[in-house]
Subunit: 289 residues, 2 copies
Amino acid sequence: MSVHVSSPLTVAFQGARGAFSEQACRQLLGEDGVELKPLERFVDVFEAVASGEADRAVIPVENTLAGSVHENYDHLLNFRLPILAETRVRIVHNLIGRPEAGFERITRAISHPVALGQCLTFFKQNRGIRAESHYDTGGSVKTIMEGQDPTVAAIASSAAAELYGAKILRPAIEDNHENFTRFVLLAREAPASPPDGPGQLKASIAFVTKNEAGALFKCVAAFALRDITLTKIESRPLRGRPWEYMFYLDFLGDLREARCKNAMNHLGEMTELLAVLGCYRSAEQPETV
Amino acid sequence: MSVHVSSPLTVAFQGARGAFSEQACRQLLGEDGVELKPLERFVDVFEAVASGEADRAVIPVENTLAGSVHENYDHLLNFRLPILAETRVRIVHNLIGRPEAGFERITRAISHPVALGQCLTFFKQNRGIRAESHYDTGGSVKTIMEGQDPTVAAIASSAAAELYGAKILRPAIEDNHENFTRFVLLAREAPASPPDGPGQLKASIAFVTKNEAGALFKCVAAFALRDITLTKIESRPLRGRPWEYMFYLDFLGDLREARCKNAMNHLGEMTELLAVLGCYRSAEQPETV
């Protein structure tokens, strides 16, 4: 998807320049007419769009290895910023050094804790390199380039290495190469209709069922009885309410269509809370549905 | 639940002595007749039980903030070690120093990347303290006590502080206090029948649906039509098979009962893979079901 506007679109994301969120931003909005606004925490990113400081936000919602980013689902519900689009980014972690650095002399590697936790085999095989936490993957490359020490490396994307003029010392050091993160694009308000483009329309919702036997079955029925395909379902225990659950659900369909409207009305009869997080184009082409 | 045996029961867990897994182990098996076997990686823990080096394993499967531990679900399916019991541990992270340490002099804090990632507010408010990754929470306390440097602190449980004779400098520094991890107890073979005790019987299963519309609805129906209550459901995309999903599902019931057997047979008709991960006593009392 590419958005064309006359004045630059300010896009907030968590992390520093060169973060995987920036790559997601490029995939979602292209290179032109985009002004990047890197921020330290996810809540800062949501606040930037809510307050009008930024026009769009790009945030991760799930990773194939680490699962759903519950914090961002909480923010989606609290801020109610609608999802406009989604994209998937392959996460490749590289050991990155200063231009004059050599792999044999590296004694410390800095990066975001999640990235360090996805490179445990590398650290096991290279006991001379100590892992150290940094607030961001992209920011760790910036930090080593601002410093003077060729024995300190960063772990980040190849885009971050290129952006800051650093050198890749060891490519793809992540434990598992099937590592993808799904990012979504947010705005303050949803467009009147989802943009045209390839990909089927898809909706993301969250709901809390009434605490009764068979509650989930009845909710899933609202979609199945109308031949609507689900692409994600996840239960999450509600804090302080044992045996009650929040559900995250994605389904293929257009919320303006009668069958989707009916399914949502039907679901509303059976839920205590029901929130539409967005209706947008799917980033994947289903093989069969 | 407490298990009584004549020879000590060797229990493997990931991390060093004082890890949250050790606390889970105490909750599950008590103090007596238990020999702890701390190991570095989750896969080592599964291998220890599979090879007979250990009698039991205690592993985390989900956290209220970080979600499901997908790696351990993969190991559960690959090793097929049955779940015997479950427990929940409240995760409290403390800043822990050497006995002679003072908070004002701390410049570095070491811990597991996940623990560091759950104390971001603390690090934001204490810019003079650098976060550094360590392979384990409990092990980080051991490391500072083996060293000589009173400016290095660890982040771990109060049990770890006590075990190694270290001092808590700041208690409960985690960002979110509603932080609980669910642990399960594994053995090489399931007992002939689940042990007596409080708590309803519960089963954990994993399955892959056939790739067709309404597949999940039909699977959930196998339980709902028999009034069986679900306590967890989660979809996980299958690697390399777009639009196909693995589901993790927990339900209340005894697998020896006719209605559960029938539900499982019914589910078997509609799934490509169906695995029982265990049938055990629930750690929680439902308010209503």
